[in-house]
Every structure is written in C-alpha cells, then in structure tokens.
Symmetry: C2
Subunit: 378 residues, 2 copies
DNA sequence: TTGTACGCGTTATCAC
DNA sequence: GTGATAACGCGTACAA
C-alpha cells in the first residue's frame, strides 16, 4: 500500500506540473514553491524547507541538492504565505497628503532608506488632503497587515479617532509633521514655533510690521505652533496681532485656486500687508506664484517668506527666503522608531517626541530694498 | 466522544481568547478573524464566511446575526489569507528611479488614481538610477506577489533580461517612459523624437546653431529618440552635428555634481555653445542651476531649454522654456493597460505602444534678446 | 440551511 | 537525517 502510494505521487506531480504549464500559457504568473523542489527531488517539503534554512539536522549532501535545485528553478519564498504564518508582513504603511510635494517626497526617501536596509517594504498612500481618503487609506493599510504605520494627517483631519482605534488595538504607529498630542506614541516634528518666530522676526527686523500669513486649517498641530511663533514675534516687537491678516486654506493649497483667493484678499486689504508668510510648502509656492502672475513686485511691493523644501526656490526670481525642514532626516527617524516599536517584544511606554531644528535660508524675497536687514539666527 | 469534543471546543475557544488578550497587552496587533465570529456565535467558519459574502444558502436570520457580530467585533477580512488563496494580491508594483522628481511623482499620481478606483494597492519602489537596486526591487515586488508591474528603468539599465525573465513567466508588466522594444507588452511613452526636434528647431529658429545637449546614457530609449530628433533638426537646417556638444550623465543627474561637470565642460568649449538642451527633468534643472551659480546670463550668454515637469519652471528667472510631458495621463494609461492585462482571462498578444504628445512651452530662457523668435508649433 | 474537509505556501513539532 | 502533520485565515465543493 505504501509502495503504491509512492507510485501515485509522481502521477500527481505530473498532473501538477501539467497544470502549471497550462497556466503559464494562459499568462498566469505561477511561482515555484517548496513543493516543486520536493517533488523534483523526491523529498518531503519539510526536508526542503529545512535545507533551505540551513538547518543542522539536514545532511550536507541533501542541502547541496536542494540548494542547487532551488537555484535552478529560481525558487523564491512566498512572502504572502510567510506573512500568514508569522502574522507580520515586513512592510510598513505610509500616509501623507501628497507625494508630489518636496517635503513629503524627501521624507519618503528617508523612510525608504531606513526601511530598505532593515528589510521592510514601504507602501505609500496619499490622502490628497481628504479626511475620508485618509480613513480609507488607514483601513486599507491596517487590513493589509502592515506591521506599522507612519502618518502625517490630512489638512481636513480634526478628529484622530480613526488613528487611535488602530493604535489602541496595538498597531505600531509613528506620527510625523502634522501630529497629535493625544496619541501616546513616537512623534517626529520640527520646532515649528521657533521656525515661525525666527521667520517673523526676520521680517520685523527688516522693517515690516503688517505681516500676513497664509496657513493650513487652524486645527492642525503645525498651524497652531507656527501661528503661535508668529504671534510671539509680533508681541515681542510690540506689534498688534490682527485676524484679518491670517488667511486659511482648507485644502492646504493642494489646488492653487484656494491660495490665489487668499492672496487676492490680502492684496485688497487697505493698507496692504508688507509681507506674506507661507506656513507650508504648497502655500508658500502658491502665494509666490499668484504674486508673480499678478505682476506684484517681490519684495518691493510685498515680501515673501515661507516654509518650503523645494530645490528650486533659490533659483526663483527673486530667490525665495525659506524655512527648510530636515525632511529626509525626519523620515529616517520616524522609521527607526517605528521599526523599534514593531520589533520590541514588550509594549513600550516611554515615547519620544523628536523635535528637530529648521533652517532659515534668507534670500532676496524677504529683504526690502530700503529696509534694515538683520538676519535672525542661523 | 463527539459530545466530549463539543465540550472541548469552548475550552479551546476560551484559551484562544485569553491568548489574544495577552497579545493585545503585549501590544501585538491581532486582527479579528472569521473564527472568532464563529466561536462567538457557535457557528462554523464556513457559515460565517458565507453569511459575510451574503450567500443565498444562508438564512436571513443567521446573516443578520453574523453581520451584527462582525460589525461589533470590527471584523476585517485578512487580505493576506485571501492573496494566498486566490494567488493574487490586488496590488501593483511600480519601479521608478526617483519619486522626488516632478515627472515621476505626477505619473505616480496618475497610476494611483486609476489603481485606487479599481481597488488595487500601489507599492512604489525607487531604483535611484541604480541597476542593482532595480533588480532587487523587481525581485522584491515579484516575490511579494504583486499582480503586475509598471516600470521605468534606471539610467544604468542596458540589459532587460531581469524584466524579461518575469515577463516570460507570465507576470503582467507595462513599461513607460524609458522603455524597451524587445519586450512584447504594452508601453506608454511620448513622442520623444518630435519633442526634441521641435525644441531644437525652436532654438535654431531663434538664430542658434551651436546647440549642446546634456543627456542620459545613450542606451536608454528616451535618449536615443531625443538625440535622433535633435540630429534631425540639425540636419534639416544644414547644421553639422558634433559629438563634442553631447555630454552624457551616467546617473541621469540624480546628483547635481555630474551635471555641473558636464555644464562646465561645455562652457569651456571654444567656441562656447549658444544653447543647452536638457534631455530630462533633472538634467534641465541641474544645468540651469549650474549656470546660475556660475553667474552665466541666460539666455544672453547661453540659452536653456529642456524636458521638465516641475511646477516652478515658469517662476524661475529667466522663466524656463520646457517640454512638458503628460505625466499624469501616462500613469493613468499605463495602469489601465496593466489592469486589463491582469484581469484578462487569456494571454493577450496585441500590445499597444501608446505615444503621447508633449507640449513645448516657450518662455524666456530660450529666446536670445536679439535673436529672431519664431515659435515652432506647440 | 449548515457543517466538514481541503488547499493556498510555509514552518514548527513531533514521529520514525 | 528525514517525513508526516498541523496551523496561519479564508473560500468552497461536498456532505448531511
């Protein structure tokens, strides 16, 4: 009986192989499995598996045979099967508003570089500044069994319950850039207060007092911190704060129209502001673009300063004064923290909020021809 | 005996639940499975499975019970298990050289928009213009059971065997931008010949004759086609072609240094070229950057034209004349083709090479102050 | 109408 | 030193 079975096996094997052949003709990609090797060599799958993992209990001879065969058949372990078994996918999910944004594409490069060296796969999704899309992305990534998540929320996100939900269930999450204090986890951000304070002081030192801001929605952490820095600089300089100088962009300037409206409203003010401060990459560039198209002279008629990580700002005319964030490094740190979270055996309870410094790069756009110029820091 | 077993089951169940509790405390993310629902309700997993899929054979009552329980327990199907079973992951892999490049980030947006609406996940990898990295990425994505691949090869890629290997094994692949004629599959590209021809003609019509090119390695499809267009324009205008005016950048200008060297070599030529034509996004911007830092007046001393999809080129000083590619649309088309390939029951044998038109946007950088200006089509 | 058994690819455990 | 078996989560053919 046992012998008969041994005869039956090759028959099945042939069938199997025939099936794969047909599938190949049907253009279906079928990977070589450990089973194929086992059949080819007349071994059991467990032996093959152990040989491949270089287990001590397998004879050198068998190992050699298996390895040779695996090489010949181009065997690649199926990570899907491994994920199912090990309950981990060695992949991390990323949610950002938009990758076509210098800050985020640089951050993703940082994320990827660390993930890559640690053997993790990166799955990137974009919220396009939509809360609903962010929720979908999150559900999608979590259900796809990513081992952890790196998130910078959308401009619409006020409520963090969707993130808390997964975090509470034990999914490792690191927040960066646009963060939330209520979620007990690692966070990576920059000193937004200081960055905005310095930028505003730079303008004030240049003789400007009516400084307008184009900003993201007020509920975002970065908006709050940056506005606070701006206000502090005004207060320290004895300048009254005015709500009318703050223009909010619901969608974070993801479509230029919103920024254009904001800039136009600012230009219609009487008296006009002497400077525009863009509180994020898209907003800065969008504001500059609008001014150029309206042929407003920068910095003569109105100065421009703002957050931006674009490589091209120094080549603009006038060259743009920017606050540059260490985006790549932020991505690196966030990923290191996330992986340590993923790989730690026990739940961690002390979380680090990493606050990095920004760099104020003073160029032409923020310096009035006749104004006193005095660089503040950096 | 059977009865005893029935008693044993709840015991195991309790154990199971206890285990999950512990795991949760250990911060390990454990998803709710169909099994949990089955246990909770005293049903079999298959009944639950069928109820969830709204099978006709399940009573309305049971369905309601199951659905309610699934909702309460926050059940989400495990796509890893599904992938293993269905041998498809509903995800597509993308390989590009760099996402922090306007052309590619726009293309990825196009890819993502189509994939998203069709229920596909997008996994993005970057080759960083390295052939080895591209091979690793490819292996990685293929082994991770992506259902298909969208690829623009690295600047180092001369040999396409690594791609052919998977393609021959039946993995659906669509090539875009930097393509290869030897692989029988769908391709999406632009009319590079025409684009380069028009750009060169534009310069020639502006009175320039010594037109230098900064280009990617000569083995890339886009390089060949663009150089051919350039040469044709020269030939049509009775201008001799000279090798000395063509500067190759092995790494596609991914690091600025390479482009800087190339530009400096061109500037050292005697006589100097009257114009520089950047044959890809990074090269164009890199060349412009180098000229600015060397304080060479553009276009007076040397004109600049080139491929670029950056949003900021119109704001540069001088504003940059560019050839703009329909990147988003290219991504969309590539993805549609790929998904149709993935979902077609039978192997397709007629492949489409989609060739889209580019747009020449004439701005200041390519127009000599005293030159005759004549726009050559859009 | 519901339950049982199997298979997807892999590895750990136990048996020989 | 090697093989058989169970398990991961799910869907489904088959059995009841």
């Amino acid at each position: 009986m046992t012998q008969r079975c041994l005869i039956v096996v090759p028959t099945l094997s042939t069938k199997q192989i025939a099936k794969k052949q047909v599938d190949r003709n049907l253009m279906k990609f079928e990977a070589v499995t450990i089973k194929d090797i086992a059949k080819e060599l007349g071994l059991s799958t467990s032996t093959v598996s152990r040989a491949l993992r270089d287990s001590y209990e397998i004879s050198a001879e068998t190992k050699k045979l298996v390895l040779e065969c695996a090489e010949r058949l181009q065997y690649r372990p199926n990570p899907i099967a491994l994920s199912l078994k090990e309950k981990r996918s060695r992949s991390i999910g990323v949610i950002v508003c938009e990758i076509a944004n210098s800050f985020f594409s640089q951050a993703i490069n940082g994320i990827e570089s660390v993930a890559y060296t640690q053997g993790y796969n990166v799955i990137i999704t974009q919220s396009h500044e939509s809360f609903d899309r962010e929720v979908t992305d999150l559900d999608f990534l979590a259900s796809r069994s990513v081992d952890g998540l790196i998130i910078s929320v959308s401009s619409e996100t006020q409520d963090f319950e969707h993130i808390k939900k997964f975090h509470n269930r034990g999914l490792p999450i690191v927040l960066f850039d646009r963060i939330n204090e209520d979620i007990a986890t690692h966070k990576v951000t920059v000193n937004n207060f200081k960055a905005a304070f310095e930028a505003t002081m730079h303008l004030i030192n240049g003789g400007m007092r009516r400084i307008a801001c184009i900003v993201n929605p007020s509920h975002l952490s970065i908006t709050k911190e940056r506005i606070a820095g701006y206000k502090q600089a005004l207060a320290d300089s004895g300048i009254d704060y005015s709500d009318s100088l703050i223009k909010y962009c619901t969608k974070g300037g993801i479509n230029g129209a919103e920024v254009e409206v904001a800039v136009n409203e600012l230009l219609d003010l009487n008296p006009r502001p002497e400077a525009i401060f863009g509180l994020s990459d898209k907003l800065t560039v969008g504001a500059f673009k609008t001014l150029q198209s309206r042929k407003i002279k920068v910095p003569d008629e109105i100065a421009v300063i703002g957050f931006s990580n674009s490589e091209l700002t120094e080549l603009l005319s006038p060259s743009l004064t920017v606050i540059r964030q260490p985006a790549f490094q932020m991505g690196e740190i966030a990923t290191q923290r996330l992986i340590s979270l993923i790989e730690s055996k026990r739940p961690s309870h002390d979380f680090i909020k990493e606050v990095l410094d920004t760099e104020l790069i003073v160029r032409q756009s923020s310096v009035k021809p006749l104004g006193r110029v005095k660089s503040s820091g950096v």
